[in-house]
């Protein structure tokens, strides 16, 4: 089944490490933007497309009014065949209160993803976040009160001034909240962001420390009942993000909004990072990345992001020289970077840390 991604490119303040597309928020622009989203959704009316996930990403989708979210979801319901959907909204703890959360829940949102990032206020400030941890904690409890049962929190690893110990405390604090899902990202300096400077590079964790932090966090989360299912994603049983899984399992998704990516009808395409063009256009522009992506390469590249890994049967079906891949895998297994068995090849957490190199190794022999 197809997933639906809706990009809401507005932020109250741009975080210095973020390179996702966003612009400053204004009421008028936001409404024009929502109208454009609606226009683009209506293009799919009557096509009989089955969907089971909707994901509001950003930017800061929680800046929208609940009625705007309802408007969008109503149109989604009109235009697609919607099957007991997972409806996620990314939320900044500062932009929500109990009342708004209740309205969002009522509009149809049933999963929240909070950008908590850390349980340490000093670190949050250094990250340029608007909230302190108390605010984030209250947002989570409010969400529970508003009857959200599926709540995810983001945490960042290796940020400036973070230590192995402070990270450990943050993870402990986070896992004690009533949440079902955690995304733990190692900070990566993106080109052109405010963090793209010498000072931050010096202050953030080096590769060795980052690796230690990552392995420690994986272990800590497992112990707390959050099983790893992807390089940076952990969930209580049954609470894996259905939408995000589509990206890694080769399922189709339709992206609506400036900078949104799609994999639909066999091709990968995206809409330019340009709010004005999106708002003014009748129909969003489509720039095709790939007409006919290589199934095998994508399967290996994306499949190895998942804890369940890749299946040898599928490799064979996609035309790979499975013998050579297994040979590589067994070599990596000796070094503790992957596990081979049960018709699967999967990376260990140490393997995940090296996944780019490992994927390149596999692809070099297919």
């Amino acid at each position: 089944m197809t997933g639906l991604y809706i990009h809401i490119p507005f932020c109250a303040r741009k975080c210095p490490y973020c390179d996702f597309y966003s612009v400053g928020y204004s009421k008028g622009l936001a409404q024009s933007y929502v109208d454009a989203v609606l226009r683009n959704l209506r293009r799919f009316e009557g096509k009989g497309i089955d969907i089971d996930t909707v994901y509001f990403g950003g930017g800061t989708p929680s800046l929208l009014y609940a009625r705007q979210v309802r408007q969008i979801l109503d149109v989604v319901n009109e235009c697609f065949n919607v099957h007991s959907p997972e409806v996620t909204m990314e939320a900044n703890p500062c932009t929500v209160d109990l009342y708004k959360l209740c309205q969002m829940r009522e509009a149809g949102v049933n999963r929240l993803s909070f950008g908590v990032q850390s349980a340490n206020d000093g670190e949050l400030e250094r990250l340029g976040r608007l909230h302190d941890f108390a605010r984030a904690k209250r947002a989570v409890y409010d969400a529970r009160t508003a009857e959200f049962e599926n709540i995810s929190c983001d945490i960042m690893l290796g940020t400036p001034s973070q230590t192995v110990e402070s990270l450990k405390r943050s993870v402990d604090t986070l896992t004690s909240l009533p949440i079902t899902h955690i995304s733990a990202y190692m900070l990566k300096i993106e080109q052109g962001t405010r963090f793209d400077c010498e000072q931050v590079r010096k202050e953030m964790a080096d590769d060795d420390t980052m690796s230690d932090m990552y392995l420690q966090t994986v272990e800590q989360l497992e112990k707390a009942g959050f099983a790893q299912y992807e390089i940076s994603n952990f969930a209580k049983r049954g609470f894996e993000s259905r939408h995000n899984l589509k990206y890694w399992t080769g399922e189709s998704y339709i992206g609506i909004g400036a900078s949104a990516h799609s994999f639909f009808g066999g091709k990968r395409y995206y809409c330019p990072r340009d709010v004005d063009a999106f708002v003014q256009g009748d129909v969003q522009a489509e720039i095709v990345d790939e007409e006919n992506p290589d199934g095998l390469e994508e399967y290996i590249m994306l499949g190895l992001r998942l804890s369940r890994g890749i299946e040898t049967d599928s490799l064979v079906r996609l035309g790979a020289d499975c013998g050579k891949i297994l040979q590589k895998a067994q070599m990596l297994e000796k070094g503790g970077l992957c596990e081979v068995g049960g018709g699967r090849i999967r990376l260990t957490p140490r393997g995940f840390l090296l996944s780019n190199s490992i994927i390149a190794e596999f692809i070099s022999v297919i």
Binding site: Y5, H7, F20, G57, Y185, M186, K188, D207, D208, M210, S211, Y214, I231, S232, N244, Y247, W248, Y253, G255, A260, H261, S262, F263, R268, Y270, D289, E290, P293, E297, E298, M301, L302, R305, M331, L332, G335, L337, F352, L353, L354, S355, N356, S357, I358, I359, A360, E361, I363, S364
Partner: protein, 600 residues
């Protein structure tokens, strides 16, 4: 043209003493090139030659000159390389001339290489005409330079023209000397054709172009020529002389002439520099004495970075061989590097130039192994083997004795640097022979040095220890017994044959340590820890460890932007292509190169 009006000559000079500049001035004065066509160093038409300011290949050019006696003369200038590595080229050029202009720098005096080439010219019975250049420099001391020429070479020089090639001062005087001092050729135009090939190159349209000096007889278009060494015969299609910019067809060449022959020769193996061209219908009885053939002194393996380019590399080497007879090569195989060639060179500069020409002119990406010399090994069963490739060095248990080539080296330098030079030579296992004062503040230091100590970077080290003032020349002396060991490099426990080299016992430890350090620097971290070891006959003498890579991951891959990850993967694939896979270790080309420069 009357032979009496022909002058065939070359120019001998030390690097930077102004040979190419003088050649340019002579070309100008004889109106051989339009002024607007003049560009500096007209004869050095290889890019590398102009960039490095040196002459690598012999070139020839014909000019007309109306002398003070009212007669018109034909000048054939054959340009020669100045560097010691290219002695062979020099001797080929010399054999085509009757005279040589010796340029001496008025401020620096005679240098070692000039001396070697001058002796070579005297050996070839050439008339040597000294010229003192750079008199425009404030530090010029023409008197002293003339004295040096008389004292060291032993030819009269007090009335030598004092010129500035750069400023164009007194060039006319040089031209007059060419007319009066250099003898005219004395060939027999009616005798059977006898012409010396002194250079050749491959032209895409005309086939092989032979540069030759006609000693006896004559040749015209349509004649069938025979190349005496190979016996191959060809019908000539174009004959002419070398203009300053282009070849000029004239239809025939006579005794005393210098010119070119094109005969649709497709197989570059047929023409050998040093061979004699004769007329197939009326051949001469015996070939001209061959040139002084020089044997390669330095060997190294050359491999295409991309194994699929092996055929291209072979073609390129064959084409280079055509106009660089001093190059030698034969196929070899390396476990680490695949198929390639073991190439022999006259020296390190020669090696560098060939590599550069292969890369530039033939657009090849190369991996070269460390240069090595030829060792003589006597086995316990009494047999003697010459070892060109360190990989073939026998097991220590099988070796009764080993010998390495040594050279007689002369270093000319201002006396203030003697201490530094001695230190350097001592460090390079040199044995001191004697020291002579050339004049009050310049010395000639004579050392016996093992060749393998100078093939790396001796010249660079010498320059840096003498502020660039010392010059250096050497000749093979023969073999001397030596305590040699083969040093192997192990990556992840496996010997990498392409990195093995032979070294003197005393130096093995230091070299092994430096080498492992260098490799550690140049091999990127891998998925596993990789030990880098240096070993002599199974005994590890140095070890470094390349730590395992810990982190190479794109943590965030969502929002559906898969292409970004793909691009990263493409980059990674490209990077992997540039690596050599040695067992489970990926080794970049730079790592192979880095071992060539251990002393950095």
């Amino acid at each position: 043209m009357d032979q009496n009006k022909i002058r065939n000559f070359c120019i001998i000079a030390h690097i930077d003493h102004g040979k190419s500049t003088l050649a340019d001035r002579i070309l100008e004065l004889t109106d051989s090139v339009e002024l607007r066509e003049m560009e500096d160093q007209l004869l050095d038409n290889m890019d590398i030659e102009r960039e490095r300011g040196i002459t690598i290949k012999a070139r020839a050019v014909r000019m007309k000159y109306r002398a003070d006696d009212g007669e018109e003369y034909i000048f054939n200038l054959i340009d020669t390389p100045g560097h010691v590595d290219f002695n062979y080229e020099v001797s080929r050029s010399l054999a085509a001339c009757e005279g040589a202009i010796l340029i001496v720098d008025a401020s620096q005096g005679i240098e070692a290489q000039t001396l070697a080439n001058t002796y070579l010219a005297i050996e070839h019975d050439l008339e040597v005409v000294p010229v003192i250049n750079k008199i425009d420099l404030p530090s010029a001391d023409p008197e002293r330079a003339c004295n040096e020429v008389e004292n060291i070479i032993g030819i009269p020089a007090m009335d030598a023209p004092r010129i500035s090639a750069k400023m164009g001062t007194n060039i006319k005087e040089v031209l007059e000397r060419i007319v009066t001092d250099i003898p005219a050729p004395k060939g027999d135009d009616d005798a059977p054709l006898k012409a010396l090939i002194f250079d050749s190159y491959y032209d895409q349209y005309k086939g092989v172009i032979i540069y030759c000096r006609v000693k006896d007889g004559h040749i015209k278009v349509g004649d069938t020529i025979k190349l005496m060494a190979t016996g191959a015969q060809f019908q000539t299609v174009e004959i002419g002389y070398m203009g300053a910019k282009d070849l000029v067809p004239v239809g025939e060449l006579h005794a005393g002439d210098v010119g070119y022959i094109a005969a649709s020769i497709k197989d570059i193996g047929d023409t050998r520099v040093g061979d004699t061209v004769t007329n197939a219908a009326d051949p001469c009885k015996e070939a001209l004495p061959g040139y002084k053939k020089v044997n390669p002194m330095v060997y190294c393996g050359i491999y295409p970075a991309d194994g699929a380019k092996y055929g291209d590399l072979r073609d390129a080497l064959e084409k280079l061989l055509l106009n660089d007879a001093s190059l030698s090569f034969e196929p070899e195989t390396s476990v680490a590097l695949g198929f390639g060639f073991r190439c022999g060179f006259l020296g390190l500069l020669h090696m560098e130039i060939i590599q550069e020409r292969l890369e530039r002119e033939y657009n090849l990406d190369l991996i070269t192994t460390a240069p090595s010399v030829t060792y003589k090994v006597t086995l316990t069963n009494g047999e003697t083997e010459m070892i060109y490739n360190p990989t073939n060095y026998p097991e220590p248990a099988l070796i009764a004795s080993a010998a390495e080539p040594v050279v007689n080296a002369h270093i000319y330098s201002p006396s203030e640097f003697v201490g530094n030079i001695m230190e350097l030579c001592q460090d390079r296992r040199g044995s001191f022979k004697d020291m002579k004062y050339i004049d009050t503040n310049r010395v000639d230091l004579h050392y016996i040095l093992p060749l393998n100590e100078i093939v790396y970077d001796f010249f660079d080290a010498l320059k840096s220890k003498t502020k660039g003032y010392a010059s250096f020349d050497y000749e093979m002396k023969g073999y001397e017994p030596s305590k040699l060991v083969k040093l192997d490099v192990l990556l992840n426990g496996e010997v990498v044959d392409a990195l093995s080299f032979i070294v003197h016992e005393e130096k093995a430890y230091a070299r092994g340590r430096r080498l492992t350090e260098k490799l550690k620097e140049n091999i990127p971290r891998q998925l596993f820890e990789v030990p880098v070891q240096a070993a002599i006959g199974g005994k590890i003498i140095a070890r470094e460890t390349i730590k395992a890579l810990r982190k190479d991951v794109l943590a965030k891959c969502y929002g559906g932007d898969i292409t970004r990850k793909k691009k990263l993967l493409e980059k990674q694939k490209e990077g992997k292509k540039r690596m050599r896979q040695l067992g489970s270790v990926s080794v970049p080309q730079e790592a192979f190169m880095s071992v060539l420069k251990l002393d950095d």
